[in-house]
């Protein structure tokens, strides 16, 4: 067991290295740089742009650039944005990361709160009207591109009915306490549901299938045979087993939510990591692109590592040798 954990941790290190190479390589393979766009203003002397490139180290050999970047990152310095006038990348990310995290959490909570009960109920009442309704919703949810759902939501729920704000994370500066919380929550509703639409559909179907599968399995039959009540079987045995794979999926889901947020954030002009990434890609702001890719990759990598270790600890059925 300990051996397994140590080996797993040791595997993590070369992976981490490969990730940095990949992230850096991808960013550097892109042609053009942040100064390309500035040529649109002929008042800026041309030589200045060359001097700027030199100063930014854009003319150094690639391995030197990689090494400089890597050693800076190792010291926690993600560099400075080229597009945002030398602002530290960490600054830019800090100012937005919580917005995306709130959005992801909101969307996740909504997804689970909607999908699990409906999935259970559907499974209990297989082939009922409710089940068909839920199935239809699930299929529609999967088949609707989420930017499209977002546009419709803005048009209908924000402009026609005026229920929810369509843009941003707050309506005014200077709110605080409960007021701020409610305001932020209201702003999360449309993007949160939009982002969660497809996942809700997936989890709903997943839950239904899992429960049906477990209900048919031997140990549930045994439980019934033991004379346990229907409810007690459902909650004590079926549900718990059905939820385990869902929880495992959540680890993946988070990374997916963060990247799915690119499109959703763009629709709602929600200032998060997704819009920052999109903006940086369009402007060739390498330090920001690299930083976001790196942070997400490391987060997911760490998540996987923790998941494997947790599994090793809790599940004696898995042999590690």
């Amino acid at each position: 067991m300990h051996k397994y954990i140590i080996r797993r941790v040791l595997q993590f290190i070369p992976m981490l290295f490969l990730v940095t190479v990949l992230v850096f390589g991808l960013a550097k393979a892109a042609p053009g740089d942040v100064l390309s766009g500035e040529m649109l203003d002929p008042n800026i002397p041309h030589e200045v742009l060359e001097q700027r490139r030199e100063a930014l180290g854009l003319n150094d050999p690639i391995h030197i650039q990689y090494w400089n970047w890597l050693s800076a990152v190792a010291q926690g310095d993600l560099g400075t944005s080229m597009q945002y006038a030398n602002r530290p990348v960490m600054d830019l990310i800090q100012a937005r990361v919580m917005n995306t995290v709130y959005l992801a959490i909101f969307s996740l909570v909504v997804t689970l709160a909607v999908a699990i009960p409906i999935g259970i109920y559907s499974a209990q009442r297989k082939y009922s009207l409710f089940d068909y309704g839920a199935t239809t919703f699930a299929f529609l949810g999967l088949a609707t591109p989420n930017f499209f759902a977002g546009l419709l939501a803005i048009w209908l729920l924000s402009f026609q009915f005026g229920w929810f704000p369509a843009q941003g994370t707050t309506s005014a500066v200077g709110l605080s306490g409960f007021e701020l919380f409610v305001d932020k929550l209201r702003h999360l509703v449309l993007p949160g549901f939009t982002l969660g639409l497809a996942s809700t559909a997936v989890y709903m179907r997943y839950m239904r299938t899992e429960i049906l599968e477990i209900k048919g399995s031997d140990f549930i039959r045994t439980a019934h045979a033991k004379g346990l009540t229907k409810n007690s079987v459902l909650y004590k045995h079926t549900l718990r087993n059905a939820l385990i794979p869902i929880i495992t999926l959540l680890g993946f889901e988070f990374g997916f939510l963060l990247s799915g947020a690119v499109i959703t954030e763009a629709v709602f002009n929600y200032p998060g990591i997704g819009t920052l990434f999109l903006n940086s890609i369009s402007n060739r702001d390498y330090p920001v692109i690299m930083a976001i890719n790196l942070i997400l990759a490391v987060t997911i990598l760490l998540g996987n590592l923790l998941a494997d270790i947790f599994y090793a600890v809790v599940d004696p059925r898995i042999r590690y040798d």
């Binding site: 042609p31 053009g32 390309s36 500035e38 040529m39 649109l40 002929p42 008042n43 800026i44 742009l49 060359e50 001097q51 700027r52 100063a55 597009q83 945002y84 006038a85 030398n86 602002r87 960490m90 800090q94 100012a95 937005r96 990361v97 919580m98 995306t100 995290v101 546009l151 803005i154 924000s158 402009f159 369509a166 843009q167 941003g168 994370t169 707050t170 005014a172 500066v173 200077g174 709110l175 605080s176 718990r240 385990i244 929880i247 680890g251 988070f254 200032p271 819009t275 920052l276 903006n279 369009s282 402007n283 942070i295 987060t299 760490l302 998540g303 923790l306 600890v313 809790v314 599940d315």
Partner: protein, 611 residues
């Protein structure tokens, strides 16, 4: 057993959340400041325009038409500023939006695009046209209460001329290169910048190395205070709080940046001690919004103004103009979109060494016949582009001067209306005929004649024109190879590093209003001369227009520019596709908005909300 596993997994997924949460814990802090200040703004933002005026100070005169004190407006922009609120280092149009309200220059442009007093109330120019002396207004205060003096002017220009300025990220050296002693100063040979002389607290002189006919343009840069940056290295300035943080950025303008939520809202609050009088409005809140929902927000009153840099898209004009509570204003943009002809390509060695030497250029014979270029411009329905894609809100040009400019003269140029027959004639005449019978013309030697057309993404209307142009040229038998569009950055790189097979390319220039001198783009040796057009007559006229002493007469310059425009329109070095109108929209309750060709931001301290 199962149960504990469930919880462990839950903890695991939550721990993922906290990994990320830990990265951004000090984000909340900025939202809690200045609560009493923003309480009123809060109300006004949610109300629509008419309601907002109800909060107006009732102590003021009740007559409509009289300026009312109070109220705030909400303005929108489509992208977040980059958070560099120091004019010396700012880089995007969104930052410029904020700076237009917080900072000022010595002189500003009026309706005729001539310079008029702003921070300087008067100036004189010496007889050799090498020195301009400004008399500054007294009693001008910075937002933090300090007095504005000539030292601030010196600081602004000396910083741009500093040896470390460019390395720190500054790009505006064009304002200082002509000043006396620039070379010595930028090379660190002296600590005193001779070019800007502080005569007394309210008098400052700019000395130029040579006669300068664009002195007012060169001295129109935004003035930055010296005191917040005292004792700082140049390299520290862009990251200092006086360049970045709300409440710390200091200017002389009618509003100061008091609060912000990054990427979303930028709150400007009236500056009570503004030298031209306290603004009527309490403040202006900038919000970052999606362009697609802009008309809806204007209609619902959540937004009171939409202006720079992109304004109302032409396609939404009708709808926005139809809104009862909204006033619109259109003015021709100073920039234009064009299709360039690559006359020459540079050699690979020249591109690598950054040399721009017309003697080394390789001619692109596919486009060297002027009749071919005239045929191409005649075959493109430019009026159609303006009428259709721009909904009529733009103009067709034949030379690179906007209508508002004094260099503009519609009678000087040759016009090329849409005329495919004429295009066919010209091509036949030039010997470009279809000899293979495939419907496409071959060159005079009977060889295949294909023109590559490259275009960038990013500008929606321009993007739409590319396939249409290829289509239209195809109709007169020109075989156009329309290539996949690139993103703007790499596209402009490719245009510049022109050791490639480009023939036709789409691009645009966004031009400052200061001076019509076309040398930066049109002189054959200019780096921005992307067409690599090498024409002696053109070069000579461009030089002639800025050669002293005649060039001090604007009429003389206008005349030379007419000759130049005529020559350009005859030679067709590029197809001027269109110049789009800038469309601004603002709440009709907002009074006293000055509608100038350069925008509507001037004298914003006089804006008020009518009852």
């Amino acid at each position: 057993m199962k149960f504990s596993k469930f919880w462990l997994m839950l903890i695991l997924s939550l721990s993922l959340v906290f990994v990320l949460a830990a990265c951004g814990d000090d984000e909340e802090a900025s939202g809690d400041t200045e609560e009493d200040d923003t309480a009123t703004e809060d109300d006004a933002t949610e109300d629509d325009g008419e309601d907002a005026t109800e909060e107006d100070d009732d102590a003021e005169e009740g007559d409509s038409g009289e300026a009312q004190q109070g109220g705030t407006i909400t303005a929108g922009m489509y992208s977040a500023p980059g958070h560099q609120f120091n004019p010396l280092f700012y880089s995007d149009a969104y930052e410029a939006n904020i700076l237009s309200f917080t900072h000022e220059s010595l002189v500003q442009l009026n309706e005729e695009l001539e310079y008029e007093p702003s921070l300087a109330h008067d100036w004189e120019i010496n007889d050799d046209f090498t020195t301009i002396t400004f008399h500054l207004n007294e009693g001008v205060k910075w937002h933090d209460g300090e007095d504005f003096t000539a030292d601030d002017v010196y600081f602004t220009y000396a910083t741009i001329a500093d040896p470390d300025y460019v390395a720190t990220g500054g790009v505006r050296t064009n304002y200082v290169v002509g000043l006396k002693g620039y070379e010595e100063y930028v090379n660190g040979e002296t600590d005193v910048f001779e070019g800007v002389e502080v005569i007394d607290d309210h008098t400052v002189a700019f000395h130029y190395e040579e006669e300068n006919i664009k002195m007012l343009f060169d001295t129109s840069f935004i003035i930055v205070p010296a005191h917040p940056f005292e004792g700082m290295e140049i390299s520290e300035i862009p990251d200092s709080s006086a360049s970045r943080d709300a409440g710390e950025v200091v200017g002389t303008g009618p509003y100061h940046l008091s609060d912000m939520i990054e990427g979303e809202q930028y709150v400007l609050t009236a500056f009570e001690d503004y030298w031209q009088g306290t603004p009527y409005l309490d403040g202006i809140t900038w919000r970052v919004i999606q362009q697609s929902v802009m008309p809806g927000l204007l209609e619902s009153g959540e937004l009171d103004m939409i202006a720079e840099p992109n304004g109302v898209p032409a396609s939404d004009f009708e709808r926005v103009d139809g809104l009862e509570n909204i006033t619109t204003f259109e003015t021709q943009d100073f920039g234009y979109q064009y299709m360039g002809f690559k006359f020459h390509h540079r050699t690979t060695e020249d591109v690598e060494s950054g040399t721009i030497n017309p003697d080394n250029w390789v001619e692109n014979e596919k486009l060297s016949d002027v009749r071919v270029r005239q045929a191409i411009v005649s075959a493109i329905n430019r009026q159609g582009i303006v009428d259709g894609l721009l909904y009529g809100l733009g103009s067709v040009m034949e030379a690179p001067f906007p209508e508002a400019s004094w260099a503009y003269d519609p009678d000087a140029v040759t016009e090329y209306p849409y005329d495919p027959d004429r295009a066919n004639e010209l091509l036949d005449e030039a010997g470009y005929v279809d000899v293979t019978g495939d419907g496409m013309r071959e060159d005079p030697d009977g060889n295949e004649w294909v023109l590559n057309l490259d275009y960038p993404t990013g500008n929606e209307v321009r993007e739409r024109t590319a396939p249409i142009i290829a289509d239209e040229l195809g109709e007169v038998g020109i075989n156009v190879n329309l290539r996949q569009p690139r993103e703007a950055g790499p596209h402009f790189d490719a245009i510049e590093q022109d050791n490639n097979d480009f023939d036709l390319y789409l691009a645009g220039w966004s031009l400052a209003v200061g001076d019509p001198d076309p040398a930066g783009i049109w002189q054959s040796t200019a780096a921005y001369n992307y067409t690599r057009w090498n024409d002696e007559t053109s070069d000579e006229l461009i030089r002639k227009a800025v050669t002293a002493p005649d060039a001090f007469e604007q009429d003389y310059r206008a005349e030379v520019y007419n000759d130049w425009a005529a020559h350009v329109s005859e030679e067709v070095p590029m197809v001027f596709l269109y110049s789009a109108d800038n469309i601004y929209a603002y709440n009709s309750a907002l009074q006293n908005v000055k509608e100038l060709p350069a925008g509507i931001y001037q004298d914003s301290h006089l804006w008020y909300l009518a009852q």
